[in-house]
Structure formats: C-alpha cells, structure tokens
Symmetry: C2
Subunit: 324 residues, 2 copies
C-alpha cells in the first residue's frame, strides 16, 4: 500500500518534533516538512535534511496562490506552528482549500481543553483558524493533548530536577484538587500517527492524554518517587484571577514586551486549568471531543509516574534546549 | 410524572410562538413565558395571559443577580429572542449559570446551517452566545431548522400567493441547483418539544428539517401544484456576492438605518445558502450536527409540497401580521 503523504509544518519545534518522530516510527507516512523561507538555512532545518527528510519551502506571508502550489497534492497536512504565529495559519488554510487535494487538515491545536471566548487569548486565535477551516468546508481533525508532563513537575529541595526544569510548578491553586488532562510530549506524535489514519476522527475534535491528575496528585507522586518533601506555595483562586488580569493589563500597555506575552499565557493557563476546571475529561466530552484512549485502548501512553522516574534518573530532556 | 418546567423567552414572536404551540400540544411541559418589562403591557403578552399561560417579568438589561432570581428553578430554558436582540442573551446565560438549577439551556439558534466566522453577522452573534454557554460549562442544545417554507415560495403570475407573501423569492442564484434544508415554521415547536426531552441531544447541535430542496425544485413544485409558470430572475454567484458586499458597506455607513440591517441579513443569507452551500445536510453533519429526522423517524414534518397546497387553498398565514 502506498504511504500516506503528509506535509508537516513546525517539525523543528517541540510539538512538531514529537509529531515527526511519531510519524516516522509509525512507518505509514511519506513525510515532507514545510519550512518558511526565513528558516530554510537554520541549523535545525539542516538537521532535518541531514536525516534525509524532504523539505519544501513555502511562505505563509506570501501569495496564497503560490502557497497553494506548494501544499498541493498532500493527503494530510499537519500544522504545529509555534504559538506566536497561529494567525499565519489563515493563509495556509486558504491555500489548502484552493487545492482540493487534501483529505485532512490538522490545525495547530495541541493544547489544553478550553472553550473559546475570552478565557485564553491563544485559544481564541486557534478558534479563528478553526472557523476559517469550517468556512471552507475543509476536512479536519483538531487534536488537543492537555498539559505536558515536561511542564508539570515541581522543584524538589535537592535540586535533582533542576537540569530539566523550565517553569517550576510549586504554586498550588485553590485546594489543589482540580483534575487536569496531561500528556508526555513524546506521545503527541504517536497519538497523531494513529489519529490521522483513522476515519473515525475526520471532522472531529480528539483529546489525547496519559493521565488525569490534580496538583496534589502530582506532588504526591513526586514525593513518593523522590523521597523528598515538595515545598509548595498556595495561591487562592482570587489571586490567580488577579494575576491574570494584571498580566492582561500589562500586555495591553506594553504589547511588544515578550515577557508580558509569556506572563499572559502562563496566567491564563493557570486560571483555565485550576480555577475554571477547563482541562478535564468531563469538559472535553461536554465540548464535543472524542477520547483517543477509547479509540486506541491498546496504546500505552507514558504515564506521569514513569516520566518522574526518568527525571530522577537524569534521563529527562530540557525543553527548548539552547533557548533558555 | 411531574411536568418538565420550561421557561420560554420570545413566545410572542414567530419562532417562539411555534415553540409555545409545540410545547402545549406535546403536553409534557409546565410552561412559563419570560417577558421583558418593556413588553409586559403589550396586547400580545396580554393574549398569553388570557390563554392562562404563566408570565414572569425579567429584565435582560438589568442586574444579572436579579435576572438569576427570575430564571432560578426552571429545568429547561428556551430562548427565541428576536433577531436584533441576540446579544441580550449574554446576561441571560450568565444568570442561568448562576442558578445551577437548569439542566438544559436552548439558546436562540433556529436558523440555517452556517459556520461562524464572517459569513453571516447574525450567525456570529449567536456564536458569541454559544461561547458564553461553553465558558460556563452550561448544559445546552443548539437547534437549527434551515429556512422556513413561509419565506421560500416565489410569486406566481395570478397573484394567488400574494396574501401570504412577505419576501418574493423569484431570484434564482447561480444554476439554481444548490440543495437547502427547509422547515415549516409550525414544525419548529414540535421538533423542539421532542428535542428538549431527549437525553441524546444534551450538549449537542441538532438540525431539524422537512425537506432538502433546490430553488429549481421549489419552482417545479409550485408550477406543478399551481399550473402556472413562475417568472424567475437569474442572479449570478458574483452578483450575489457583490450585493452582499454592497449591503455590508451601506450598513457600515448608516448603521441606524434598519433597511440597511435587513438588506445585510437578506444578502448574507443568499450568499450562505446559494453560493457557499452552507445550509445543506452534508454541511450540517460536517459541522457536527445530529439529524432530528434520524432521532425521530416517526415524526412526519409538513413537507413544502403540502405547504404549497395550503397556499393555493388560501389557508397559509402571513408572517409578522400587522407589522408589514
């Protein structure tokens, strides 16, 4: 059987990198990476070439007609564009719709479960892209994954986790008991490889995850595995909302300050996950998602517990290596 | 068994009136009509009182807390608010969410199938209301119904239809072959009465309809039943788009001119229905709707053919009686 042709945008990023590995490991795909002209000489793109991967250059900021010629003929198109560039997908959606050769477009979702409408700016940008897809009647699959294990562990006093730590998660919101969907970053691609070959997921939202854990569950697992006491800080729900509102005001005042952008992301995530209880399996089902774990009962995702074991063994990988 | 308590907003309107009759005929509901303070002395509201219907006064423009006290305790809340006041539902949604006593909120959908995102202004306003519902995790059902028979018939030369005519539909768009979902206005309430008692429709979008007909189908039915030749005018797809764009510009220039508002509605509907092919069963399924005809195979809606027969017999009712 001919391999399924896939065009992947964002292969050098964390999510896109996981997707690339997942598709390669699965073996059913003929993969091409879509790269922006401005990135074509980057070492990360050269590394893809060195692995023998096919690269095509396409400009999301150029003419839609030219982009349509680049994306024409691919059966499946997956976008894992980096967070600040979500809106550049509008041109990609328009280009894909012009070709009529794509049987599934996977926009850049890959985030927590959250409704559109003022909860998270990032989520609302994604919604505009989804609406563009629906406007074209384009076949699609939206895949969300909860929050990554790699972002969800607290610091422990010995400092044994510090080598892999980007954002320490020692703040406990409210009573710490709100359940949250979680995934290991490495599993995202394995889920995607199954989902994009599955007719049941066409024109659907799918939620993929390994665990549903509260912050208290996370602390308990880390304490049990490490034998250390996690030092937590308590944040009330009202404080979380105040921090978010402050971050929004700061960004509005100084929109070009990237620290303000990061602060809004982080605080909007915290309110959505821990105060609003958006990132739960119950809410995913309410919002119309189908459950990847029910679709693929044989798939064994990497549990948070396993990830913590790797962390302790010094085997975890720091994300965004070289950037922070 | 205790009757299901329903609060209905918009009972004096065309859609709300159909819903009221459908709920009454079904017999399973304990109905209360929600009326705005400014409407409480209207003769149409007095007519509801005269029929023995319960009326509560609630102000959508007042405090949300006060409105919550009005809506508290109703099992099912159905909004058929009139088109220009869609955004007033935001306060209603917030009030319903405060009570936690409502097991199903039915926002004012009751329109054609159309994606959000710039196709129809009315649809985009409804989407903001839906997002508000999702933001509160409120149980809901969205019910769309296609275009009404009562708005879909062309003028015939003898003038025999003129008594019931609001908008003559003698423009044929493109080749006239685009299928469209259609419902008889009188069936909306019958569908709603079934849908709001059905657990399968909770947190779902449902599409209800009697026919899927193209404009050429409509003309053929009318010609066959009347024995007259329908005089049609052909409008190209490009012309339809130009008319819509012109109507949008005119409204932007003179937003308080209600004729401009009506012109935008009409022209946006035409492009959505006849050029974009949004109001089809295929598109409804693509957008995630479940099909009321599949849910209720025993229900026999009033077919367009039957409606035309009534029209010819002088038995059809002019809509918005006394207003035009």
């Amino acid at each position: 059987m001919a391999k399924q042709s896939v065009l992947l945008l964002g292969a050098t990023g964390e999510t896109g990198g996981s997707i690339l590995e997942g598709l390669l490991e699965n073996g059913s795909f003929d993969i091409t990476c879509l790269v922006q002209p401005s990135s074509s000489t980057k070492s990360s793109v050269q590394a893809l070439r060195n692995r023998g991967l096919k690269i095509v250059i396409g400009d999301l900021n150029g003419s839609v007609e030219a982009l349509a010629e680049v994306v024409r003929g691919f059966n499946t198109i997956i976008s894992a564009i980096s967070p600040p560039y979500q809106m550049a997908q509008i041109a990609l959606v328009d280009a894909v719709a012009m070709t009529t050769t794509t049987s599934r477009f996977v926009p850049c979702a890959f985030t927590t479960v959250c409704p559109p409408g003022g909860v998270m700016h990032q989520r609302d940008e994604k919604e505009i892209v989804y609406q563009r897809i629906w406007g074209h009647h384009l076949p699609y699959t939206i895949i969300d994954v909860g929050y990554w294990h790699q972002f969800s562990f607290p610091r422990i006093p010995s400092g044994r986790f510090d080598y892999a730590m980007l954002l320490p998660r020692n703040d406990i919101y409210g009573d710490g008991n709100v359940p949250n969907l979680m995934s290991d970053l490495r599993d995202i691609g394995k889920f995607v490889a199954r989902i994009v070959r599955d007719e049941r997921t066409i024109n659907k939202k799918v939620v993929a995850y390994s665990d549903v854990l509260s912050q208290n569950d996370v602390v308990a697992i880390v304490e049990e595995k490490s034998g250390e006491k996690v030092e937590v800080t308590h944040v009330t729900e009202d404080e979380a909302i105040q921090r978010r509102d402050k971050a929004r005001v700061a960004l509005e005042a100084y929109p070009s300050d990237n620290m303000n952008t990061m602060a809004r992301w982080t605080n909007e995530y915290n309110v959505s996950k821990y105060v609003r209880k958006d990132n739960t399996l119950e809410n995913a089902k309410y919002l119309g998602y189908i459950d990847a774990r029910e679709l693929y009962p044989d798939f064994q995702p990497i549990r948070f517990e396993t990830f913590v074991q790797e962390l302790l063994q010094g085997e975890a990988k720091k994300l965004y290596a070289g950037k922070f």
